[in-house]
């Protein structure tokens, strides 16, 4: 057990150093984009946040599936942790995206497939939390959570598809140039910064997930003790 704590502490330090390096790269290494200027730099962490948000959803659904299969509580703890962390990163992605969009597209929001799907995914996450909040029995809570996160995860790709078809047949009225993608050519330095940011955020995700799972285990222990003392 002590070994694990040491490993986690080491990971914490590594994560902090990597983040510092990433921030440094974004501001000092990556060149300034000619047309967009400073605001383009949001893109590196914005895409990384979105990536973690979606990855987390997949992890949550997979863990939920394994939980239903095996009945082993630890998978439910992982699933719950993944949803919580996913919400944070999904919301960060939306906020950073809006910050980028306002000067570039002259709007805080558009209903394009990626944005809309991310927003809906966040709503599914939040619904998951509300579902869990409303159940007192731990076993039932874990089962229902797993069922819902699987249903939710299946619906998200279909949502994306439906809005994609929607947009293809009815093109966006506010036709900003390169409206649905960050359409600029990345120089080599930009690409390196971008890939590094993705990597750093993934490491950050693992670090946060590990901490959250530990916390989840403690929460579960406390709950078991409460139930035992009442019963």
């Amino acid at each position: 057990m002590d070994q694990k704590v040491d490993k986690l502490k080491a990971l914490d330090v590594i994560t902090i150093l990597l983040m510092a390096a990433a921030v440094g790269m974004v501001f000092f290494y990556a060149p300034m984009e000619r047309i967009m200027g400073y605001v383009q730099k949001v893109f590196y962490f914005h895409v990384s946040s979105a990536w973690v948000g979606m990855l987390s959803f997949v992890v949550a659904a997979a863990a939920g599936g394994v939980f239903l299969r095996t009945g082993n509580k630890k998978w439910d703890i992982v699933s719950f942790a993944a949803v919580e962390i996913g919400i944070v990163f999904a919301i960060l992605a939306i906020i950073t995206g809006s910050i980028w969009a306002r000067p570039i597209w002259n709007t805080w929001w558009t209903w394009d497939p990626r944005l809309t799907t991310t927003a809906i995914m966040t709503l599914v996450y939040i619904a998951y939390l509300m579902l869990r909040k409303g159940i007192d029995d731990p076993a039932k809570r874990a089962r229902f959570g797993a069922v819902y996160v699987i249903i939710g995860a299946l619906s998200v790709p279909l949502t994306f598809l439906s809005i994609r078809i929607f947009r293809t047949i009815h093109p966006v009225v506010i036709a900003a140039p390169g409206a649905t993608s960050a359409a600029f050519d990345m120089s080599a330095k930009m690409l390196q910064t971008f890939l590094f940011s993705l990597f750093v955020f993934s490491v950050l995700y693992i670090d946060l997930l590990w901490h959250r799972v530990k916390l989840g285990r403690l929460q579960d222990d406390v709950e078991q003790l409460k139930i035992a003392s009442e019963g």
Binding site: L68, I120, L123, V124, A127, M130, L131, G134, I135, D136, K140, R143, F144, A146, V147, Y148, I150, I151, G152, L154, S155, L158, T159, L161, S162, I163, I165, F166, I169
Partner: protein, 220 residues
């Protein structure tokens, strides 16, 4: 199979006696149409795209009502416990509930669609639209029954179902609205086809998944 039909028969019989669920859904649906009339200032020559949107919004909200009542009854009257004690496959219970809920929803739709046609002078009685309404209802009820079974077992009960259901059912609503308006406007089949395909995919995926996981939702 027999168990499934028995569950359907039970639900229909109970409903025939009290008519609680269908009447509540029906009145609610008509009231929603009324509210949309003022909210959107609809008039007789209403555009087809708005028509299908209002129609599906109505069905979505009324459907929630029906699902809540239907599953809450199971919980409150201890019916679910009784069903679970019987030596039947859980999936048969699920399919039985789905078919029962679907009958209620279709019954409401059968009234709302002609009424809407009359109120807004738009002919909604065409085969394509009926098909879309059916496909959409199937998907909605498939997911809705599963999620309602979970929602009624929580503390927040009725309030939770829309929160759980609406984000998940969005692809279905998008496809249903676009396909409906396609048929109302008599667009070429090629334009409507992607939406019909999406509806079918949604129905198949969620019927299958819900049928598989229903066990976990009702076990003790």
């Amino acid at each position: 199979m027999k168990a499934m039909l028995a569950v359907v028969w039970k639900d229909l019989k109970a409903e025939m006696r009290s008519r609680e669920v269908i009447s509540a859904m029906l009145i609610f649906a008509l009231l929603v149409v009324l509210i949309f009339n003022f909210a959107l200032e609809l008039e007789a020559g209403t555009r087809a795209s708005i028509t299908s949107g209002v129609l599906w919004a109505t069905f979505t909200f009324a459907g929630t009502l029906g699902l809540n009542r239907s599953m809450a009854q199971e919980n409150d009257r201890g019916c679910m416990d009784g069903l679970l004690m019987a030596p039947v496959d859980r999936s048969a219970i699920y399919m039985g509930k789905v078919i029962g809920n679907l009958v209620f929803m279709v019954a409401v739709e059968i009234v709302v669609i002609p009424v809407f046609s009359l109120l807004y002078n738009v002919n909604l009685i065409n085969a394509g639209l009926i098909l879309v309404v059916l496909l959409g209802s199937i998907g909605y009820i498939a997911v809705g029954t599963l999620l309602a079974s979970m929602a009624v077992q929580t503390r927040t009960r009725d309030m939770l179902l829309p929160i759980l259901l609406f984000p998940v059912v969005i692809p279905l609503i998008v496809a249903a609205v676009k396909a409906s308006s396609g048929f109302i406007q008599a667009l070429p089949m090629a334009e409507i086809q992607p939406w019909l395909n999406l509806l079918i995919v949604y129905d198949v995926v969620f019927l299958t998944v819900a049928w598989m996981v229903f066990d976990f939702v009702v076990e003790e």
